[in-house]
C-alpha cells in the first residue's frame, strides 16, 4: 500500500470572484460610482480615463478626478466626475 503525498493546490486569486462581467452605476461618495465585476486586467488608468479589460471586451470610463479601488474577487471601482462609460468589443 503506497501513500501519495498530495500537494495542496495554490489558492488562485480568482477564488470567490465574479467571473462574469457585470457593471453597476450609481451615485457614491465623491460623485458617480462605477463598479465593474469580472475584471481581468487594468490596461490603463489616469485621473481622466480608465481602461478595464473584461471577458470579450474592454470598458472605457472617461471623466475627471477618477479614483480607483481594486477589490479581491476581481472587482474594480471607479469614482469621480464620470462623463461616459463605453464598452469596446475586443473584436472591433
Amino acid at each position: 500500500m503506497t501513500s501519495k503525498n498530495k500537494k495542496e493546490p495554490r489558492k488562485s486569486p480568482s477564488v470567490g470572484a465574479i467571473s462574469d462581467f457585470r457593471l453597476e452605476l450609481d451615485r457614491g461618495e465623491g460623485g458617480v460610482r462605477v463598479l465593474i465585476n469580472g475584471a481581468r486586467a487594468i490596461r490603463d488608468f489616469s485621473p481622466t480615463r480608465a481602461l478595464v479589460r473584461v471577458k470579450g471586451a474592454t470598458v472605457l470610463v472617461a471623466g475627471d478626478g477618477l479614483q480607483i479601488t481594486v477589490y479581491e474577487g476581481r472587482a474594480v471601482e471607479l469614482v469621480g466626475k464620470i462623463s461616459g462609460v463605453e464598452l469596446l468589443n475586443d473584436k472591433t
Binding site: 486586467a41 487594468i42 490596461r43 489616469s46 478626478g65 479601488t69 481594486v70 479581491e72 474577487g73
Partner: protein, 386 residues
C-alpha cells in the same frame, strides 16, 4: 479615511507616482489584494499585508511610511518604559474606578428634600464611593420605600458610573370633613343677585334683588313650611357688582446697573470632601447679588466626582431715570390689566371703562368694571338654649 481596524492594528501609507497607478492597480487585481488608491497615488495598507504589497509593487518606485496607528505608537514607544508604564497605570486606574459609584442623581418632580432622600439612600448602601459589586438595587429600593414617608415609588438605574434614582413623590390626600353645627350663607359685598344654587338651607333672596354686604342669602334656619329646625347652609350665589380698580405709576424709576463682578469664594469638592481654596470674610456690599455656581468635569460623557464651587459677587449702582408720559401710560395700562385680572380671577368681566390722569406724583389710571362673580360666604352661628 483610515479604517478603524487599521488604526487599531497598525497600517502603512505607500506612495507611488501617478503614472504608475495603472501598473499598481493591475498588479493588485492580479494578486487579489484590496487597495484603494488616492488621487495623489497614496494608499493605506494594513500591517499584515505590508510585505505582500511590497512584493506586488516590484518594479515600481514607491515610498513606505513607518508603522502608524495604535500598534505603531506602541512600537515607537517600546523603549520609553516610563511613558508606557504611566499609560498602562492610567488605563488600569480608570478601569478600576469604573467599579465605583461616582455620583448619585435623583430624578423626579416634586421631591422636596433631596438631601434627606440621598441620606436615606446612603444609609441603605447607595452613596458616592460605594462599590457597584456590593450594591443590590432591589434591596435598596425596598428599604428606602419602607423607611421614607415622602416616596411612593423608587427605581435605581446604573449608567456607567452614575446611579440615577427615579422617584415619585407620595401625595397625601385628606378626606374632606363633614361640617358640623349650623351656618348661613351671607353676601360679601353689595351686589345684585344673578344666580342662586341651594344645596342645603332656605334661599332668602331672589334673582334680580339688590343686597348689601352681610345680608343673609341662604339661611340655616328653616321655615315651618319646610319642617323648621336648623342646618348648615350650603350653596352658591352669584351677583353682579361694580368696582373701580386703580393703579399709579410714579414719574421716575430706579435702575440697577452692573458695575463690577468678582469671585467671592472658591472651593473644590472631591468625592464629597470640600477643600476651601479662597474665601472672603466680612460684610459684603449691600447693593449686590451673590450667586453660587458649580462647575462639573466630564470625560467622554462620564461625570467625575470632582467639582468646583464658587461664588460670584455682582455689584450694582442705582440710578434714577425720569419716565415720559407715553411710557407712564403704557406701564399704567399693563399694571391695570394685571390688577383687574387679580381682582376678578374667578369672575366674569361684563364691562370695563378706563380713564387716566396726570398728577404731580405720577400717572393714575383707573378702570370702572362690572363683574359677575361668587358673592357668598359661610357664616356659622350657635344656638343658645335658655
Amino acid at each position: 479615511m483610515i479604517r478603524p481596524d487599521y488604526l487599531l492594528l497598525g497600517y502603512y501609507i505607500f506612495k507611488i507616482d501617478k503614472e504608475e497607478l495603472a501598473r499598481a492597480s493591475a498588479a493588485a487585481l492580479k494578486e487579489g489584494v484590496t487597495l484603494r488608491f488616492g488621487s495623489d497615488g497614496s494608499f493605506a495598507v494594513s500591517a499584515r499585508q505590508g510585505a505582500q504589497v511590497e512584493r506586488l509593487l516590484s518594479g515600481i518606485d514607491y515610498t513606505k511610511s513607518e508603522l502608524r496607528g495604535l500598534a505603531g505608537f506602541f512600537r515607537k514607544g517600546r523603549h520609553r518604559f516610563g511613558v508606557m508604564a504611566a499609560i498602562f497605570v492610567f488605563i488600569f486606574i480608570f478601569a478600576y474606578l469604573q467599579g465605583f459609584v461616582w455620583d448619585v442623581r435623583v430624578e423626579g418632580e416634586g421631591v422636596d428634600n433631596q438631601d434627606a432622600l440621598l441620606s436615606e439612600l446612603s444609609t441603605a448602601g447607595l452613596f458616592v464611593g460605594a462599590r457597584w459589586g456590593s450594591i443590590d438595587t432591589s434591596k435598596i429600593e425596598a428599604r428606602v420605600l419602607m423607611d421614607s414617608d415622602s416616596v411612593s415609588w423608587l427605581n435605581i438605574n446604573r449608567r456607567g458610573t452614575v446611579a440615577y434614582v427615579s422617584v415619585v413623590r407620595r401625595e397625601l390626600h385628606e378626606l374632606p370633613k363633614e361640617p358640623t353645627g349650623y351656618a348661613s350663607i351671607v353676601a360679601v359685598r353689595d351686589c345684585i343677585i344673578e344666580e342662586i344654587t341651594v344645596k342645603e338651607g332656605y334661599a332668602t333672596v331672589k334673582v334680580g334683588q339688590s343686597v348689601k354686604r352681610g345680608d343673609v342669602l341662604i339661611s340655616g334656619v328653616l321655615p315651618p313650611e319646610l319642617g323648621g329646625g336648623y342646618c348648615y347652609a350650603d350653596g352658591s350665589v352669584k351677583g353682579r357688582f361694580s368696582e373701580r380698580v386703580e393703579v399709579k405709576i410714579p414719574c421716575s424709576v430706579t435702575d440697577r446697573v452692573l458695575t463690577d463682578e468678582k469671585i467671592g469664594g472658591l472651593s473644590l469638592k472631591i468625592f464629597g470632601f470640600n477643600i476651601n481654596i479662597l474665601k472672603k470674610y466680612g460684610n459684603l456690599e449691600t447693593s449686590c447679588d451673590i450667586i453660587d455656581k458649580k462647575e462639573e468635569i466630564t470625560i467622554l460623557g462620564a461625570r467625575l466626582p470632582v467639582s468646583a464651587e464658587y461664588q460670584v459677587i455682582r455689584e450694582y449702582a442705582v440710578t434714577e431715570r425720569q419716565l415720559g408720559i407715553d411710557e407712564q401710560a403704557k406701564m399704567a395700562l399693563d399694571e391695570l390689566k394685571l390688577a383687574i385680572g387679580r381682582e376678578n380671577a374667578d369672575g366674569d368681566l361684563l364691562s370695563i371703562k378706563t380713564d387716566g390722569e396726570i398728577t404731580d406724583d405720577g400717572y393714575i389710571m383707573w378702570a370702572d368694571t362690572v363683574v359677575r362673580a361668587e358673592v357668598s360666604s359661610v357664616k356659622e352661628f350657635k344656638l343658645i338654649l335658655e
